[in-house]
């Protein structure tokens, strides 16, 4: 079997190795090097490898590699975008630095839960003939990896790789147990790909073309996806490009970023694939529906051709930035470079057919009309070229550089130049039909309607011209428009630099537009556009200056929760005192504890915060979410539980009963506190007013506690008399550990507890609350209830947040799984069941709500593309005064929860 491995190697800057890599990788790097400062001789790289098998099946693997004096090390490997990865602890030595024939090496360590042993040798050296060509100086490396552990021995996996001088890896063979080739992988890189490599690929399947429909008055401008993390965002570099592959994607990029394909199908806004050129992308990609290929240029001086699945096909190197959007004309792809050339390449192989020298850099995007490719240059000329030969059919001299893309319609090419002139040319002959001088710089493409041509000038004004005569019809000197405008039916959509999208009729009359602020987030700050919207897939798409892509179109069904405010931990009053865990409500305000044991109150309307108290003498940091009982704050920190008088913050009492991992539970005048002591896990009942110990019991685990009437129920499954502490019953757990807090059914008759026998072999058990008798037990195959979280009951289901990040709903009567939600990225902290929905956040910063009965997503916020894997503890959404308050990374966020959500 032959496969093609499309290599896409990206260096990860040292700092990001710690801040952006997944938690396990970061931890491992920290273990290896301590801090980024110690990594002078080590370079972390991420190799995104997309493999296309002959069957057309594509898979993606992401390897994290370290290049250091010892050689090339493999730190981790991950299948798919969100797949679980394997961590190599210690990193596996893939290639030692001193490679020479006969060299042998081995390395071993842990690979996930298994033990690995890698043995490699340089089997020989010499010439090598491959699909990429013949290479004179190559090394043949053989390696075998054996995994063992978990009571089983796995078959070893063999590799035979060929590395050639000046190229690197050119072929990789996977060997079966007998040493025969099981799969031969031809490795193509952005520097080297066989010409025929791309030719035989089948075109990607397409989805039907879908026009923008419906009354724009009912459209909504909403956040769609992100290209870069919030707060670290840089401006988008070209208008989003909708590509109607199956599933459809929206292509976009930001400064210092990849070409990102956001899913426009079933997983809206999620990143489907990324491609990493060695530079920025300023020209929009072109999609050839006939072949299903994507072409784009980058500042690394290359034009790239990708398969619609993001697989690299070929690259063509020019001498300068390629910022023009290519155009496909038959079998030729035509584009311009800043090295003054216009190129015509073979669409299949990237072979150069012709090049034409102009007098200046070419950034204008060409258009293909009436058999002629029309393209402008900074030399002030517009060229009409034969796409098959590059022969110049005609030339038109504008009075200034032509940077704007050429727009064509009905055999006419519309040219906007920096001289301020808008010109209509006959595309076939280059004959001037009309020229309209405006005197302002024109840099963006004109938009053509039936009777008008619209253009935005460099003074941010919108101008309309008669399409037949070029006479100016009207002008809207708003001073904030950004081009190009977009004609949608009989309306005009124009983005503004202040983050609005304006809607006008073709006579220039305004209708109500859209404010991008609704689609933004407080971390990014104010929205702004520098480029106009595009259309595709039944919607409009706009890219913001904060690397977000917005969708403007008919509603998609899910309610949207809007962020109202964001408080950064680095700002006053927190000033580095990172708020911990979950907020709790006090008199309509949110109460938060900081890592430094300060207590803060937050106005949930404005996000304005103030410090009001401190847990005196507390050592360590808060260890469980705070609880407020009337005017008493109960907060666990270090090895004590504190009771603080609100609102003045005076300490009422302090109970040094060990460290508590679960929040205290208040029942009447009693406080139940589960804590780890030297003698084991203690359940202490304290007097709310004095902190006096009423009774104490020891448990074989620390899942959690809940109260109903005069009975306290715990996990490990037990029941105690609330007043006396007398055990009422204790269920046999068969040696399993308690996992997470318990939950009672609405009637209080059934107790649900999570448990596990080590690892992730967990269960949820339903017990009779009166006797402790087991009613049912549900196995959670390979998973367990998250010990830091708790079970919830609502209606007829039990909600179990699992260790893997999945959330499952079990039938409360039978234990059968009703639904399961697997998050696309890891979950952040714990869940909250509120108003019939299950609320939680993801590690990219997104907040979601699932209907408890069905598991359907009923609401979601913008995602922030953050990497919060290091900050996922036990925080969960809290609903206070109509606002959802949640600690996300280094921010506390407040979300407006719309009425459409089954409200708090």
């Amino acid at each position: 079997m032959i496969s093609t491995e499309s290599q896409n190697l990206a260096m990860i800057p040292d700092l990001r190795s710690f801040t952006e890599s997944r938690q396990a990788l970061s931890d491992e790097l920290e273990k290896l090097y301590g801090s980024p400062e110690n990594m002078d001789e080590a370079q972390v790289m991420e190799a995104r490898r997309r493999t296309l098998k002959e069957s057309g099946e594509a898979s993606e693997t992401t390897d994290t590699l370290i290049l250091e004096p010892r050689g090339l090390l493999l730190l981790g490997s991950r299948e798919g975008e969100a797949g679980t990865g394997v961590l190599f602890d210690r990193p596996a030595v893939l290639l030692p630095a001193d490679l020479e024939p006969g060299k042998r090496w081995s390395s071993e360590g842990k690979a996930g839960s298994l033990h690995y042993q890698l043995d490699g040798r340089v089997a020989g050296a010499g010439a090598f003939e491959s699909d990429l060509g013949t290479f004179d100086d190559c090394l043949f490396v053989q390696a075998r990896i054996t995994f063992s552990g978990s009571g089983s021995q796995h078959d070893p996996v063999g590799y035979k790789d060929t590395y050639c001088a000046g190229v690197g890896l050119v072929e990789s063979r996977e060997l079966d147990g007998s040493g025969d080739t099981a799969e031969r992988g031809v490795v193509v890189s952005t520097d080297l790909a066989p010409a025929e490599h791309a030719a035989g690929l089948p075109p990607a399947p397409l989805t039907p073309r879908e026009d923008v429909a419906g009354d724009p008055a009912s459209w909504r401008l909403a956040h769609f996806g992100r290209l870069r993390p919030s707060g670290e965002a840089t401006a988008s570099t070209f208008p989003p490009t909708y590509v109607r592959t199956d599933p459809p994607v929206v292509l976009a990029a930001a400064e210092e970023g990849d070409l990102v394909a956001l899913d426009a199908g079933k997983g809206p806004g999620r990143v489907r694939w990324r491609f990493h050129p060695d530079g920025n992308i300023y020209g929009p990609p072109a999609f050839d529906a006939r072949t299903g290929r994507i072409y784009f240029g980058a500042t690394d001086k290359k034009l790239y051709a990708l398969d619609a699945r993001g697989l690299f096909l070929w690259a063509f190197t020019t001498g300068d930035n390629v910022a023009s959007r290519p155009v496909v004309a038959g079998d030729t792809i035509v584009f311009g470079g800043e090295n003054r050339n216009v190129y015509g390449l073979d669409t299949d192989t990237g072979e150069e057919h012709w090049r034409v020298r102009t007098g200046g850099p070419v950034v204008s995007s060409p258009a293909f009309e009436d058999g002629v490719v029309v393209i402008g240059s900074d030399d002030g000329a517009v060229y009409g070229l034969d796409p098959s030969t590059g022969d110049q059919r005609w030339q038109y001299l504008a009075k200034g550089p032509v940077e704007a893309p050429i727009t064509t319609e009905g055999g006419v090419a519309y040219v906007a130049s920096r001289s301020g002139e808008l010109t209509a040319l006959e595309a076939r002959t280059g004959k001037e039909i009309w020229t309209s001088p405006q005197g302002k710089i024109l840099r963006t493409a004109p938009a053509v309607a039936d009777r008008e041509v619209f253009v935005v000038d460099d003074d941010y004004d919108l101008l309309a011209f008669d399409r037949q005569t070029g006479r100016k019809r009207w002008e809207n000197p708003n001073g904030s428009y950004v081009g190009p405008p977009l004609v949608v039916g009989d309306e005009l959509m124009v983005a503004r630099d202040d983050g609005h999208i304006e809607r006008l009729d073709l006579a220039g009359k305004h209708a109500e537009g859209w404010d991008g602020a609704a689609a933004g987030n407080p971390i990014d700050g104010d929205q702004a556009f520098s480029i106009g919207p595009t259309a595709g897939g039944g919607a409009l798409w706009a890219a913001t200056d904060k690397a977000a892509v917005l969708r403007l179109g008919p509603e998609t069904g899910q309610a949207h929760i809007e962020p109202k405010w964001a408080d950064a931990f680095s700002d006053l009053p927190f000033f580095g005192d990172a708020p911990q865990y979950t907020a709790t409500g006090y008199r309509g305000e949110a109460l938060l504890l900081g890592a430094g044991n300060n207590a803060y109150l937050l106005d949930v309307g404005s996000g304005e915060a103030r410090r009001f108290a401190r847990l005196n003498g507390a050592s360590g940091s808060p260890s469980a979410e705070p609880v407020v009982a009337e005017d008493t704050l109960l907060a666990a920190s270090g090895n004590a539980l504190y009771a603080v008088q609100l609102p003045d913050g005076d300490e009422l009492w302090r109970f040094d009963g060990g460290s508590g991992l679960r929040p205290p539970v208040v029942a009447g005048q009693s406080v139940l506190w589960l804590s780890a002591t030297g003698d084991g896990t203690a359940l202490s009942a304290l007097d709310l007013n004095s902190g006096e110990v009423l009774w104490k019991a020891f448990l074989p685990g620390a899942g959690g506690v809940t109260v109903r009437g005069k009975t306290a129920y715990t996990n490990p499954a037990s029941a105690f008399d609330l007043d006396t502490g007398k055990p009422l019953w204790r269920a046999e757990n068969g040696g399993r550990q308690a996992k997470g807090g318990p939950a009672l059914s609405a009637s209080g008759d059934v107790l649900f507890v999570g448990s596990g026998a080590g690892g992730r072999s967990g269960t949820v058990t339903a017990l009779d609350a009166g006797s402790g008798e087991e009613i049912w037990r549900a196995e959670l195959d390979g998973d367990a209830v998250n010990p830091a979280d708790r079970l919830w009951t609502i209606g007829d289901v039990v909600i179990a947040p699992l260790l893997s990040g999945d959330v499952v709903a079990l039938d409360a009567a039978t234990g059968e799984e009703v639904w399961r939600y697997t998050p696309p990225v890891p979950r952040l902290g714990n869940v909250t069941v509120h108003g019939g929905d299950v609320w939680f956040a993801l590690q990219d910063g997104e907040v979601l709500a699932l209907a408890a009965e069905s598991g359907e997503t009923v609401a979601r916020s913008n995602d922030y593309s953050l990497n919060l894997n290091g900050t996922s503890v036990a925080q969960r959404p809290a609903f206070i005064g109509g606002t959802l308050v949640l600690g996300v990374g280094t921010y506390v966020l407040g979300f407006e929860v719309s009425g459409e959500v089954d409200g708090p």
């Binding site: 920025n280 300023y282 001498g319 300068d320 910022a323 800043e338 030399d379 840099r443 520098s530 680095s570």
Partner: protein
Amino acid sequence: MSRLRRVSVTRTPPARDAAMSLGRSTFGTFSDAMSKLVVDDLRPGVVHVGDLPRLTRTLAWLGFILVFAGVGMLFFSEPLRETFPLLPMLGGTTGRGELVPFVLIPVTIFILSVAWGFMLAGAIRARLIVRLAVLLLYLVVAGVWTAGTATSIPVALVSWSALLFVPVFFFLRRKAKAAPAPEFGVLLILVSLTFGVSQIYAIQAWRASGVPGVLANVPTLLYTFDMLVIPLMLFIGVDIAEFVNKTASWTSGLTDAWAGRRVLYAVLFLLLGWRLVSVVLETVERVGKSSPADQAAAYAGALVIPLSVGAVWWLVSRHGGDLVTVETLLDVAKRVAMPLIAIYLGLQGVEIAVILIGGLIGLLFVGLGFGGPGDPGGALEIAGQLIAQDANWQTLLAALAIVAALLLARRGRTTLALYLGILGANDLWIGLTEPGRPLGYFGWSGLEPVDFWWVVIFAAVAVYWLARARLTEDRARRLLLLVVITLLMRQTGFIEDPFSPVLGFTGVGMIALGLIWDALTIGFWANEDSQGLPRVSRIWLYLGYILFSIAVLNWSVASHDILQVDFFTGQAALGGFGIFGKPLIYAIFAVTLAGAATDVTGAEEPDLDTPHTAT
């Protein structure tokens, strides 16, 4: 022997004679043009360094070599882009980015370091105000750079120490004997430590964070000097006006030299006729591309310009006063242009200062661990408000110029009053008719409308005098001069882009030529010596200034920043021409026409109430 017999007479064929005569005449014309338009400026302009001490002279030569090398580098931006990786700067031009060849970053920082070395070494011996201004600018610019790049303690210590030692060095050397070369050496080391060490760290931080902070800083560092280059560019506008007048005088003078009286009249009417037809056709074309109503409003607005010139002339000349001639006008305009430019840019200077100080406060916040203050001290908000007031500021200045003109006229300073009055009226009317301003309906774009009215006025005057048989030779000559000036005023293309067909990229040749020309002709200022600004200080300051300009220009050209390049190659100069040059030309129109009106060979008696005029 008769003396006549000693003269050898040789006969040449008539055709050869004519050809030789034409050749001699052409050469004479060319050499006369070179002499009047080039050599006259060049001769006093060359910097003299021969009598300086050897070390100082060597440094000066090295400085000039670096200047010429920097100018030469302008022509190699394309090979640099092709050879080295291109680094995209954050916030580049939409649609194409702003990419610089990697090698340009260290080169730019090197040139800037040398430039600062020269500037500081020049300032240390200059008068207090220059010393403080240069020192303050350096502290702010280098402070912002250092705070943004030197974030590790050892690097910050070195950078800040070197930065702060500069004012200490100024203080220590305040009474010491001048030692230009050693002083330059010490300052160059300090500047290099500040810029260089933190640059190394910045690149390390870039590698570590993936955020090219250094790239974000270099343009900031460069475009701070943008502000310094602008006054020079605006001043070129006055030069253009002078050049236009000089060229027009020389061109119209050719008619005198080459032909007789009849030809003079023929040339005048041919030129006037051609110009009239041209402006009428242009007007028709404009109406065709817009609408009659719009163009009627635009042309009505443009008519105010010549009318206001007439009004100012009448207002300032009725008080009598000094003799107004073209020469005195040129002299006055060149003398007051730089202070006027400084006032004109004053608000922008304040904006830059506010932003810089705000930036420093912000960095201080971060440095002290208070987190990002967002908009420190509201600096950006204040700067934003100031920027929004730019148009109002310029309108206010224009109004003040008119008031000043009236006051000066009363005091008999008619020449200055005329220039200031026309400048104020011109700017005020243009300001008020900008889009969005109160009289925006009367606004116009392009040169055509105002040109139309001047041509019509000159034609009307010519026809009037001709009809009344008063078109004397002197009047015809004066009118010819004015018509040639209107013609030259339309030829702005050579200012913007004279070499692009040859060199292939907008205006690079013009920039290079301008810089070399500046380097060759700065001597008129650098050869002077005064206690407040000794000669070596002048040379050092000039070298520093021109190196800043070269660093900025190289960056703009290499990054294909068309806006910046356009700005340097034409827009700034044309802006200066519009604001400070055209009023000078209009004043010349007024003086020349008034002079013609009082032509004693004509039938009219001179008006004794008007000041004496002559051309």
